[in-house]
């Protein structure tokens, strides 16, 4: 047995712990399960349907079990996803801080075995608590007549999600430089990645929804949890189930379980690779440059596949898809907008989301893969020692100029494909067929990435994050103050200031490039001015920072 798993069992499953956690698990599970089981089991037969002519209370165990299933699943999720993730994050961070990870790092065990040991050893008690709930699950399946195959699919995805959450927590514990912050960062990351990010699935980027267990639950289990004799779903339930039943990806329809496995598998792969590097040597960046380019490429393929139906046929999943099906006159658009502007607005939302995701990915990858001055120095000295004229372009220590250009190229090509798809589509009319619609966002993305790279490579963490905070967030805060002061009077000034931050520039640019959605020209604002300011500022910043970086490196 893996010694780290054995250690987890020894540490957390001593007889006293077994009794305490077992009792907690069995009492909480029995209380919640039986309460919902008995509640769901009671069924009232109305007077007009009963033989006696009076309302009758009959017992339907099948319905009780079906109602109790969701409660049981939530409790199992609480044990493994909530308690288990917290445990992995906090212990990894604590052990990193104390130096215990270094002991493990020094053992000749394969890093892969170490990762598995931490993933399954640390939450040993939580797995035991989960085991205690299994008899209830068996009862639920038999009495509730839930198909075994569907249940198997659900629990396969459930465990895949559990491992994903635990691995995320473990990687963050390994990566975050300040161990005290790690447990909080891990919790926030799990929330962000697997709770907030999936919400973007409602804005047409369907693949993001498949980072959780929900698609499989709604798509495979909910239809089998209907009360016996009532085989129709309510309106809301129908919508939810429809949303998850099949996933449009490029021109295919994919099953939610398959899609979830693929999505989670890709993330698991990336996290494993990161953890592997960190276990080998703590000072290695989380991703190598080729790995980062590969991950970015996969992200772009997923984005392309998810947005394909929207750009080619104007169809989208989630709330966006539902709103597109509405009658434009009943869509509740503000008076300032044209009645038929709903598709154009949806396009702006999707394009802005696309660019914001790209910005977030670029920021993450540049932060991780572009070497700080210390690492560059290391690379230069080493290459000098080995008699090489320069550091190999894909080495961790190599300057990231080429790397960011490749990332921006990939992103721009994908956006160009989507744009061409929309232009050539007969159903999508909300995209202006001009070259600047692709070139302008691509150019600003390149300037932003080059500025980030130059900042990363000449400053250490404080300088880099200070620069990002100052440039990306301060303009938005300034706009907030101006808006409170005089929204209408300051609107042009707000747009000009907001164009300085890439976060607010891209939505503006998308509105600027979209076909006119306003019925009358707005005398208060001129988007072309703010767009010019944004483009020129980003260009100046990229050039200025690149020059200062060049000078610093030359020194």
């Amino acid at each position: 047995m893996n010694p780290l798993i054995r250690r987890g069992i020894r540490e957390r499953l001593r007889p006293k712990n077994l009794v305490a956690s077992g009792l907690f698990s069995i009492i909480s599970c029995a209380t919640l399960y039986l309460a919902s089981f008995f509640d769901g089991m009671q069924q009232v037969i109305p007077a007009n349907e009963s033989e006696s002519g009076l309302p009758e209370l009959i017992s339907m165990p099948v319905n009780g079990a079906r109602e109790a299933f969701t409660v049981l699943l939530v409790l199992q999720g609480f044990f493994l996803m909530f308690l288990g993730t917290g445990r992995v994050a906090s212990v990894t961070a604590e052990e990193k801080e104390a130096g215990l990870l270094d002991y493990q790092r020094m053992t000749p065990m394969n890093p892969f075995s170490k990762i598995l040991g931490y993933l399954f050893g640390l939450p040993a008690r939580e797995y035991f608590m989960f085991l205690i709930t299994l008899p209830f699950l068996l009862h639920c399946m038999v009495v509730g007549k839930i198909p075994l195959l569907n249940l198997f699919q659900l629990y396969a995805v459930f465990f895949c999600s559990v491992i994903l959450y635990h691995l995320t927590a473990h990687v963050i514990g390994l990566v975050v430089p300040k161990p005290r912050a790690a447990s909080w960062v891990a919790r926030l990351a799990v929330l962000g990645l697997y709770v907030f990010l999936p919400v973007l699935g409602q804005a047409g980027i369907s693949f993001l929804s498949f980072l959780t267990i929900l698609p499989t639950y709604f798509g495979k289990i909910v239809p089998h949890l209907l009360a016996e004799g009532n085989q129709t779903l309510g309106r809301f339930e129908r919508q939810v189930v429809d949303f998850w039943e099949e996933i449009p990806f490029f021109t295919y329809q994919v099953s939610p379980t398959t899609f979830t496995f693929v999505m989670q598998g890709l993330i698991l792969l990336a996290l494993f690779a990161t953890a592997y590097r960190k276990w080998r040597l703590d000072s290695l960046p989380a991703f190598s440059k080729p790995m980062a380019i590969g991950l970015f490429g996969i992200l772009q393929i997923l984005l392309l596949g998810s947005l394909w139906p929207f750009f080619s046929q104007g169809e989208a999943s989630g709330l966006l898809g539902q709103s597109l099906q509405l009658d434009p006159t009943k869509a509740g658009l503000p008076n300032q907008l044209k009645n038929d502007s709903l598709p154009a607005i949806s396009m702006i939302v999707v394009q802005s989301t696309y660019f914001l995701l790209n910005l977030a990915s670029l920021l993450l990858l540049i932060n991780v893969c572009c070497p700080d001055p210390h690492r560059q120095l290391k690379g230069r000295q080493r290459s000098g020692k080995l008699g090489m004229s320069r550091i190999p372009a894909l080495a961790d220590e190599a300057p990231g100029g080429l790397f960011v250009c490749v990332l921006v190229c990939i992103s721009t090509v994908v956006y160009a494909v989507l744009h061409l798809l929309a232009v050539s589509s007969e159903t999508v009319q909300s995209v202006a067929p001009s070259a600047q619609s692709v070139l302008l966002p691509g150019l600003v993305l390149l300037f932003t990435a080059l500025a980030l790279r130059a900042a990363r490579e000449q400053w250490f963490n404080l300088g880099f994050w200070g620069f990002v905070g100052l440039l990306w967030l301060t303009p938005m805060l300034a706009c907030l103050v101006l808006a409170v002061d005089d929204f209408l009077g300051n609107s042009q000034l707000m747009l000009n200031i907001a164009s300085l931050s890439p976060l607010t520039f891209f939505p503006q640019l998308m509105v600027f490039l979209a076909p006119d959605i306003f019925p009358d020209p707005n005398p208060l604002i001129n988007l072309s001015t703010s767009i010019k300011i944004g483009v020129i500022t980003s260009a100046i910043l990229a050039i200025f920072l690149s020059i200062t970086l060049f000078r610093t490196l030359k020194k």
């Binding site: 104390a98 270094d102 493990q104 020094m106 000749p108 040597l281 290391k378």
Partner: protein
């Protein structure tokens, strides 16, 4: 064998270790000493594969720590300056975990665990939970864990920091035995007397650099320091100073006490010169009752080095 060549380590723009070069032979104990922040722990961590150097080479048993860290880890035993342990494991389980992680199994594993617990005097506490151990006991548990896979190179950062006098003597004996078995041992410590008693050679680190390195005698010579002899007489000898002035290797006679029978004399040379001087004294009829060859004290050298002006290099 440990070989460190031109090692350089940066933390951001701070140079923690700069052009550090030294080697430790198999079967010897090398002590790294220096004030806080001198770079001792960073250097040990770099040798232990836990910090990636900016520049330089580190070889342990001929394996490059930079290029083959996994292989190097197999021959290394590292004990950090703070004794973190798995609080909820029993002492034997703690050692067992690492024995297994280093690839031991079955009876061999059990034997090695018991052996390391026995060597560190923890056999009686083997069934106690680690969290119930005192700091000194934790240090022993950590040493037991470090020894369990019988590494050929031991890196011990402040190994005696929390130990009581008895445990320190035990530790010294353990280390000497291990060195006798051919292991290469590198120790960093603030306890200078401990280093003096335990180590065969020393390295004085300061501001990230190796200020002095070698055996105590070699260092003395590097520092151009005179070695001293302590001479006790049975009774006062009126011509002692005259006799000493005629022996070329001796100079500077100081009276240690007022009874004119205990003296401290500077010696220019090593043990050979001391032996010749003793022969000459006896030959001229000086009633020598005790003749002690006084090596330079590590403490004195350390203080001397400490008082020199600082020159921490920044990038």
């Amino acid at each position: 064998m440990i070989e460190v060549k031109d090692l350089k380590l940066h933390y951001g723009d701070f140079v923690a270790v700069n052009q550090l070069t030294f080697s430790v032979k198999p079967g010897s104990i090398y002590g790294l000493i220096g004030p806080n922040g001198a770079g001792k722990t960073s250097a040990i961590k770099a040798i232990a594969t836990l910090l990636e150097p900016t520049f330089g080479d580190i070889l342990v048993e001929g394996i490059s720590v930079l290029h083959q860290p996994e292989q190097a880890r197999g021959v290394l035993g590292y004990m950090p300056d703070f004794p973190p342990i798995y609080e909820d494991l029993k002492v034997w389980e703690f050692c067992d975990l690492f024995a297994q992680a280093y690839g031991l199994s079955g009876e061999e594993k059990q034997a090695k665990v018991l052996q390391s617990l026995h060597a560190t005097g923890l056999k009686e506490q083997m069934h106690d939970l680690c969290k119930t151990l005192s700091r000194g006991m934790r240090q022993r548990a950590l040493l037991a864990k470090t020894l369990v896979h019988e590494p050929s190179v031991l890196l011990l950062d402040e190994p005696a920091a929390n130990l009581d006098p008895k445990s320190r003597i035990d530790l010294r004996n353990i280390l000497k035995k291990l060195a006798g078995d051919g292991k290469t041992i590198l120790i960093s410590s603030h306890i200078l007397s401990e280093i003096e008693d335990t180590c065969d050679s020393l390295g004085f680190m300061r501001d990230g650099r190796m200020a002095l390195s070698g055996t105590l005698d070699e260092i003395s010579r590097q520092k151009d320091r005179a070695t001293h002899l302590k001479i006790h007489l049975l009774e006062p000898h009126p011509a002692l100073r005259e006799v000493i002035s005629k022996i070329p290797s001796l100079s500077q006679v100081e009276e240690i006490t007022t009874c004119k029978t205990k003296f401290r004399v500077s010696l220019d040379g090593g043990e050979k010169e001391a032996s010749q001087a003793l022969a000459k004294l006896v030959e001229t009829g000086v009633p020598v009752s005790e003749f002690i060859f006084q090596k330079p004290r590590v403490e004195e050298l350390f203080l001397e080095l400490e008082s020199a002006p600082k020159e921490r290099e920044k990038k």
